[in-house]
Symmetry: C2
Subunit: 234 residues, 2 copies
């Protein structure tokens, strides 16, 4: 599997390119609109065809490149069913597979940050890569105070779904703000402060007391992203 991690410095978003080296078919996870030309350049230079572009959830802090990539490459575009984003060519739900060439991502529903938050798993033998969106960040987790976020659901997603993965599972989040690029489930289990809350009630209290400011571009980004970042011409 050909793998590249790409960073958007403006929103501190990580975008992931995974490709099947045999068929040269690729998937982009959480692409950012402002970097679309760069993705196209990289795909061309690596001799890859973009089969599908997916978002882990409807983002509030940057504009998705799904619409632009659809227009530029003809790729499929996918978001989770609960996003109700009519712009995408297909939706996914828990347990679905998203194929790229002869490889695939496995879809795991991990709501809590938003009600349309998913984790994508890629398995190679016993090795697992988890693309956790904003559900699990490195030494943190996504906030739960808008877009139908729910701290109790987030607790369940973290503890019953993500921490159920093996300790050596590689964790690739949608963001990092301190320059760390990856982690593992074992590391997060031991050292993520948000995972140390004892029980769901303690976690709900912890999340309720964060008092975070709203993302700067949220009022623009959420409706734009529900239209894949690029409304179709009327």
């Amino acid at each position: 599997m050909l793998f590249r991690q790409l960073f958007d410095t403006e929103s501190s978003t990580y975008t992931y390119l995974l490709a099947d080296e045999a068929t040269r078919k690729a998937v982009l996870i959480d692409p950012v609109a402002g970097n679309a030309e760069q993705y196209i350049q990289l795909l061309r230079q690596l001799d890859l065809t973009l089969e599908v572009a997916v978002d882990t959830h409807v983002h509030a802090d940057h504009i998705t490149a799904l619409g632009i990539l659809r227009d530029m490459t003809g790729c499929a575009t996918m978001m989770g069913e609960p996003a109700r984003a009519s712009c995408v060519s297909a939706t996914f739900r828990d347990g679905d597979k998203i194929p790229f060439g002869k490889l695939e991502l496995e879809v795991l529903y991990t709501p809590g940050h938003t009600d349309d938050s998913y984790t994508f798993l890629y398995r190679a033998g016993t090795r697992i890569w988890a693309f956790t969106g904003d559900t699990l960040l490195i030494r943190g987790c996504g906030r739960t105070d808008f877009q139908n976020g729910n701290s109790a659901q987030q607790y369940e997603s973290l503890h019953r779904k993500l921490l159920a993965l093996p300790d050596d599972t590689r964790v690739y989040p949608a963001h990092d703000y301190k320059g760390w690029t990856m982690s593992t489930i074992g590391e997060e289990r031991a050292h993520n402060p948000r995972l140390q809350a004892r029980g769901v009630d303690a976690f709900v209290t912890l999340m309720a007391n964060l008092k975070l400011a709203n993302p700067k571009h949220m009022d623009v980004a959420v409706p734009a992203n529900l239209a894949c970042g690029k409304p179709r011409a009327a």
Copy 2:
């Protein structure tokens, strides 16, 4: 080998942590002073001992963490012999090995960006990781117009030393300014504009015409880094 890539958002510097999982001994390549506390935290959480901290060259755009890390952990500190940095505990030159636990980095002298620029190679079977400093960047290369830089030497380092490595060698540079995290020798051979110059004379002309502004903090960073970023108390 345990491997982590860390990014300093202020100077767009990549720092690399490599560790021997058996002995838990680690090396840090190009650590940045402002992130020293974070490195210590990560080392502690991963249960690692920092054996040595090294710079690929004397940086002009950020302050090295070598001195701080020496004071905080007692690690060895190393720079290349031509740096003439009396603060380090040892110097290296072409062909040397830098051990961390039972693993080692191989030292390759690649002058041109500066006269003390080195590439570190890590080999695991037939797989090679090249930590290229500013000698080879992703789709670019370091400038050659100060710190005894020399375009003709840079050409030789790029073409005779780095491009002599196998195409699937992973390239991990000291910087990237567009959010790309890695490349390969094959990719750079094919798509790096600086490597398309036909012959040394064309390359020297190309580099002479770049007309770049000096790095903002160069007058502070270079002398500070020659003192490992943290002069010993008088």
